[in-house]
Symmetry: C2
Subunit: 245 residues, 2 copies
């Protein structure tokens, strides 16, 4: 067993969870590569939530609270790494959760994700796809009518740029959690939290809990004063500084 005193305990814990995910089939081998990219970028920002990410999380929490039909989209990696934090956040923001995956076998993997959440006491969408998001090839297009299809705000994590773009074109506001500030997802989203999901999700719940006391006008002001472009620039500066140390 891995000792909690190991300097890389958390990092190794998440790795093991994903390895088991590959064994069961809920995570794809390509999902492991994506995780590795995240590891390297997380390392560069110091494996901590930056002040900058906190600002983005505050704006995101406000946007989620303002949403009429918020949906949290989850894939295989997200489910394995942070199902409980997702469930918590969905409760705080009164959001739906929907399984949506990139890689085949999609139907089987979505079933596994739905089942994983069911075991943790949450009923999520995605098992039945009865609507389509335009402009997307493959399985990512297939969504639930009462979920992502009707959503006004969608929270995506560890996602591909095409999908973020298609959701935007479908008139939705997109919140992204993405460790790569240069990714298309990061650039295309309305609000991008440059942080590891295992830190950003509990932070979002906490921020949403605090912001619940604010009125709509105050929440709208928080969203309005946030500039994603400026925030991404700041995140790039942080990575740049870390690399030059």
């Amino acid at each position: 067993m891995l000792s909690k005193n190991h300097p890389r305990y958390l990092s190794l814990k998440y790795r093991h969870a994903l390895e088991n995910g590959v064994k069961s089939g809920i995570v794809t081998p390509t999902g492991m590569i994506a995780h590795g990219r995240g590891e390297a970028l997380d390392y560069l920002i110091g494996e901590r939530t930056t002040k900058n990410a906190m600002k983005a999380a505050e704006a995101a929490a406000a946007l989620l609270l303002l949403a009429k039909r918020p949906v949290i989209s989850v894939n295989g990696n997200v489910s394995v790494l942070a199902a409980e934090e997702i469930i918590k956040l969905a409760k705080v923001c009164d959001a739906k959760i929907e399984a949506n995956v990139f890689y085949a076998p999609a139907a089987k993997r979505k079933r596994m994700i739905v089942e994983l959440f069911r075991k943790k006491g949450a009923h999520i969408l995605g098992r039945i796809s009865d609507a389509k998001i335009k402009g997307l090839s493959s399985e990512r297009a297939n969504v639930s009518k009462e979920g992502i299809f009707s959503a006004d705000v969608v929270l995506v994590m560890l996602e591909d740029g095409d999908r973020t773009e298609a959701l935007k074109k479908a008139g939705k506001k997109v919140i992204a959690i993405d460790l790569n500030p240069l990714s298309r997802t990061a650039k295309k989203a309305d609000i991008t939290i440059v942080d590891n999901i295992v830190r950003a999700l509990p932070l979002l719940s906490k921020k949403a809990n605090t912001l619940k006391r604010k009125n709509i006008k105050q929440l709208k002001f928080i969203v309005k004063k946030f500039s994603n472009k400026r925030n991404i620039k700041e995140s790039l500066k942080i990575i740049s500084k870390a690399a030059s140390k």
Copy 2:
């Protein structure tokens, strides 16, 4: 089939090769995470060989030519990504190749690596381990007496820091190819080439071919004037600049 015109053709080609490697068992799921870390760092240096990496490659080629018993150590990822380039380099430098892996099942995976090289016409060591490198737990310690155990210079790629340290303690010169200039391997090696192995290996062959015309004194001078510390610092600067763009 993947089109060669796809902007990410090469990146996707290597990903597919590794995915197939996971299916066959020669690559581990954790090896996929390592590849992802490399992808992110390669992206930051612009997916090109920097002038800085060229300098390191020149010093490395000189050191390989000066070596009496050079060995190229290969793991699962390396074998899948660059077996042919390894074979070419081994020929140019008159080096042995040895399979050495971190993750279980080690004996089986080393057999698969030896077989992969055999099919490409190269006989490599690693199937039989009849010696040990001190100070290493697990399978990495088990080496071939006529290979890594007796080597004076070892070229390692996509490696763990412990092993580089143990090889150094065993009195060997270590050349590393590592996209992370902050890794322990990068810091502990005598010469670190901060580059993707698929670019660095052909570059090493080319440099070695050119340097073959030089005499021993000239080669020694090239190695002597190279400072790994300074070179790593330069690589960090390049990453820092890329991130701040």
